[in-house]
Symmetry: C2
Subunit: 192 residues, 2 copies
């Protein structure tokens, strides 16, 4: 939101304006931000630049995050081409796939490597994140291999609950479950 | 989970077993299910078939949901080919795009239509859901058009907060925000 306010030339923003954009209340915006320190001045609102910069530091976006993409299928390809991805500091440093037909192909500057090399690639390139865009049946093994290689976090598109050690954050994106959340809300509303 | 237990030949399942798979507690599983009625028998656990069927009804998966896909780019294509999509009862009945080079192409049995036809397609095909896989700049307009046509819910991949009337559920999938959630957790852990 702050970036889009910046793009529109905004210099300061109030908690009320942020709340309206975020579909929440001004009190909630102030409360949420207060968890991370003191922001803005009473009656003057927040400096857009400053708030953005401080939030970027809180989110860890003041550094580049080297990412290894596992799975050069359609989801992998969509992610690889996603423009916001690089803009926010996530740099894809390697792509691996287990399909011999895909290994050796070039995506941009990168050559698709065999999944067997995942562990050594993570170590060599000091990758901090892996994106798992692989079938459910392969995901757990790839996750374990990534953890062994010292990965710090996993973005998982496979529809399985990964078992990883405590302290390795996993974010799951389950596309069917998102649709099911909609169906549930619509079904429930139609019954009341 | 229940489907994977079915695939493995499981007939009954305990709340403890479900909790282990779902990284939660047996008490939480029982509490969550209790919101929707009475399931299982004390000491005997749940019938896998019955629990699955009842959850499908609760989630609205006992019917087919006609979906219109807006945006025939990479994310749209990944979704269109997603095998679980159709298996769970979401049927893509139309694809629209605003790029003249894409209009007229065939994806499976479907011909990509111009976005200008979105409203009439939703009405004609009685579509209940739209998936927005369009750039941020186009998303609000497409959402409004879909709402006007009587859509019931929106799965939004565009990185914007859509403004829609109350009662139209929106689920947002923001891929960069998922990565940011990981960076945040890793950054915070490294500072403590």
């Amino acid at each position: 939101m702050l970036e889009s306010i910046q793009d529109d030339g905004g210099v300061t923003v109030s908690s009320e304006q942020l709340a309206r954009r975020g579909h929440t209340t001004a009190a909630q915006v102030r409360k949420d931000l207060s968890h991370f320190g003191s922001f803005g001045k009473r009656g003057l609102g927040y400096s857009v630049d400053e708030l953005r910069d401080r939030l970027r530091i809180i989110l860890g976006l003041d550094q580049v995050w080297p990412v290894v993409l596992v799975g050069a299928g359609r989801i992998g390809s969509a992610l690889f081409e996603y423009p916001d991805f690089k803009r926010r500091g996530y740099e894809c440093v390697a792509i691996v796939d287990s399909n011999p037909e895909k290994i050796g192909r070039k995506w941009g500057e990168l050559v698709i490597q065999p999944t067997a090399k995942l562990e050594s690639l993570i170590k060599e390139l000091c990758a901090t994140l892996v994106i798992l865009a692989v079938p459910a049946s392969a995901a757990q093994l790839v996750a374990e291999c990534s953890v062994n290689a010292g990965i710090n976090g996993i973005l998982n598109f496979a529809p399985v609950q990964l078992q990883v050690p405590d302290g390795i954050p996993v974010e799951n994106v389950n596309l069917v479950m998102e649709l099911e959340a909609l169906s549930f809300q619509i079904t429930r509303a139609s019954k009341t």
